[in-house]
């Protein structure tokens, strides 16, 4: 088969416009498929993080958007003293867009000492001491910095907020890379928000032996008669509720990705069939020379496979580059779903491209392999 490699490649190059158009089609489809796959992976990552079951989020009862939840800041100190609680951090959330968006910027305001203690952030640029000294200082996730072209030392304004970038961090948790951290007090004093002494939510770390459901119930019970009632859930449940609408949407988009793959199947199959019909006589010559029907079959399958793999390879490669360098994340209600390239996604995409290549070639290959030689030699 390898010996016939030059023949197969030259055959594809013979109708280069047709081949290149088909390759482009495959590239676009696999690009879309990979991109949608990255969204799905981001959602799965969010859902499968086991640490989300040992962390609780205390929110204001009957509030669903971070902009409307206002808990007294001292709730955190009170919660910290409850049984089963290892620590509690008041967090003020501020964002440029409460609804689902591809370019949502989310600020989380925490006391500086709690930020370093509760988050796995590694500053790649800037330093902590600058952040701690600057009242308006922020540390920016690498993905946001990339997307918004932010540099250390710059001022960054969004809405009523103007901040100074003290550092850019990386984190092993992909969604963190899309986050911006600020001082709690700074976010509480944003002009017009009137939220001094309040926070959006309290993040609660459980002790190793604590029952999360029992602690949730205890917290909500503790504040039932207070100025503001609470709604406490594990972080996993909290996030699932926040992105619930997105799950359906992403599922639908996933179907569109698969539809693109089906479209490529039809496209490659049609192109390969056209190629075979153009070469009925040539295949008859090859059979006369001594090529077996199985060999002719494999030639056609190889053509279809190459078109799909080359197109798919380009599409997947482009998608991986776009995911790597765009720093995109889908955000809703302060929850971020990071789109990231992954080897598994690329490998799955290539496997799908290969599968489509083989399946698309089956009918044309069967036709080519089973053509009778003598009538085929008489074709123009």
């Amino acid at each position: 088969m390898i010996r016939f490699g030059p023949y197969i490649l030259k055959t594809l190059w013979r109708h280069r416009t047709r081949t290149l158009l088909t390759v482009s089609g495959a590239a676009v489809a696999l690009f879309v498929y990979s991109f949608v796959g990255a969204v799905q992976e981001g959602l799965n990552r969010l859902a499968s993080d086991q640490s989300h079951h040992r962390t609780l989020i205390v929110f204001q009862a009957n509030r669903f958007c971070p902009s409307t939840s206002k808990l007294p800041e001292d709730y955190a100190r009170k919660i910290e003293q409850m049984p089963g609680v290892a620590g509690a951090v008041p967090i003020k959330v501020y964002m440029n867009n409460c609804r689902a968006s591809l370019d949502v910027v989310v600020f989380n305001g925490l006391p500086a000492e709690k930020l370093k203690a509760t988050r796995q952030l590694d500053l790649s640029e800037g330093d902590w001491s600058t952040f701690e000294k600057q009242r308006d200082g922020i540390v920016v996730g690498q993905a946001v910095a990339l997307r918004r072209k932010l540099k250390v030392g710059q001022k960054f304004s969004i809405g009523a907020l103007t901040t100074s970038i003290a550092g850019i961090f990386t984190s092993p948790i992909p969604s963190e890379q899309n986050m911006i951290y600020a001082h709690l007090e700074f976010l509480q004093r944003i002009k017009g928000l009137n939220s001094v002494g309040t926070c959006t939510q309290v993040e609660v770390a459980l002790t190793a032996d604590a029952n999360s459901d029992a602690v949730c119930r205890a917290i909500d019970e503790r504040f039932r008669g207070g100025p503001i009632s609470t709604d406490t859930r594990t972080r996993g449940v909290f996030q699932a509720r926040a992105v619930g609408d997105l799950i359906e949407l992403v599922g639908f988009v996933r179907l569109l990705g698969l539809a693109c793959v089906a479209l490529v199947l039809a496209l490659v199959s049609t192109t390969t069939l056209m190629g075979v019909q153009d070469r009925i006589r040539e295949h008859a010559i090859l059979q006369t020379v001594g090529c077996t029907p199985a060999r002719i079959f494999s030639f056609v399958i190889a053509e279809s496979l190459i078109v799909c793999l080359v197109g798919g390879g380009f599409g997947i490669g482009a998608a991986m580059c776009a995911l790597q360098f765009s720093g995109l994340a889908l955000g809703t209600e302060g929850i971020l779903i990071a789109f990231l390239p992954s080897l598994a996604l690329a490998a799955t995409g290539l496997a799908i491209a290969a599968g489509v290549g083989v399946v698309a070639g089956l009918a044309p290959a069967w036709q080519a392999a089973n053509a009778e030689i003598v009538p085929a030699l008489r074709t123009a």
Partner: protein, 234 residues
């Protein structure tokens, strides 16, 4: 030594409501080193007989044995493998693969045999030399004249040193001068290399270079300028 043995072969096919019988109970044999020409009017069955001997068509009844192998019962795959080893086919219209160079066209049959790259190169070079196209190895069919294309076609047919070479009107598309060159080449293949050739032609002059000549009329094989031969024509 008997190389081709066509034994009481009949070939029929249907066209619409009609049954056509281009060959009727034909018996025909060739010895190693024979150069046989087959003439006949269009539709007389000469190409059909050639295709049957080459193993690219199947008889309705009868048996065909070529190079000691009865080929009428072989599967398509086994028949293809057998052709790669034993048959060289020269087409009227050259039928070169347009995307391959002269060298690559000639190498095609060798790719199907268990030969090393260097052995393939050696054989192709020798064959290109034999057909006088050593300086055209890298040319594509569109860059060659009709006569040169046919010589590449002949080179492709003989490069694997097949047991029998069949030629279907090999000079049908060529001018007078080129026809002479091609016939001379075929004759040299027969006399100098001892190749067994079966050639179908319309051209009396072309037929005359063969050592044995036959005509096909109404499905019957007739020795040229002789009466109907019923039975073997060795």
């Amino acid at each position: 030594m008997l190389v081709v043995d066509v034994d009481h072969v009949t070939k029929q096919f249907t066209k619409g409501e009609h049954t056509i019988t281009p060959l009727r109970d034909t018996t025909f044999q060739m010895e190693r080193g024979d150069f046989v020409s087959l003439m006949g009017a269009s539709g007389s069955g000469k190409s059909t007989l050639l295709n049957l001997v080459a193993g690219i068509d199947r008889p309705t009844t009868g048996r065909i044995t070529v190079a000691g192998q009865e080929i009428t019962g072989l599967s398509r795959s086994r028949l293809a493998r057998w052709r790669a080893e034993h048959v060289g086919y020269i087409f009227q219209t050259h039928n070169l693969v347009p995307v391959l160079t002269a060298y690559e066209n000639i190498e095609l049959p060798l790719l199907l045999l268990p030969l090393s790259r260097s052995e393939r190169r050696r054989r192709v070079d020798v064959t290109l030399e034999a057909v006088g196209l050593a300086d055209r190895a890298d040319h594509y069919p569109r860059q060659l004249s009709g006569g040169q294309e046919q010589r590449v076609g002949i080179a492709r047919a003989i490069v694997a040193n097949p047991t029998v070479v069949v030629a279907d009107e090999p000079t049908g598309d060529l001018d007078g001068e080129t026809t002479g060159q091609i016939l001379d080449l075929l004759q040299r293949l027969n006399t100098e290399l001892g190749m067994t050739l079966l050639m179908v032609t319309h051209d009396l002059h072309a037929a005359s270079v063969a050592s044995r000549r036959y005509r096909l009329e109404q499905g019957q094989l007739i020795a040229r300028e002789s009466a109907v031969v019923a039975g073997s024509l060795t």
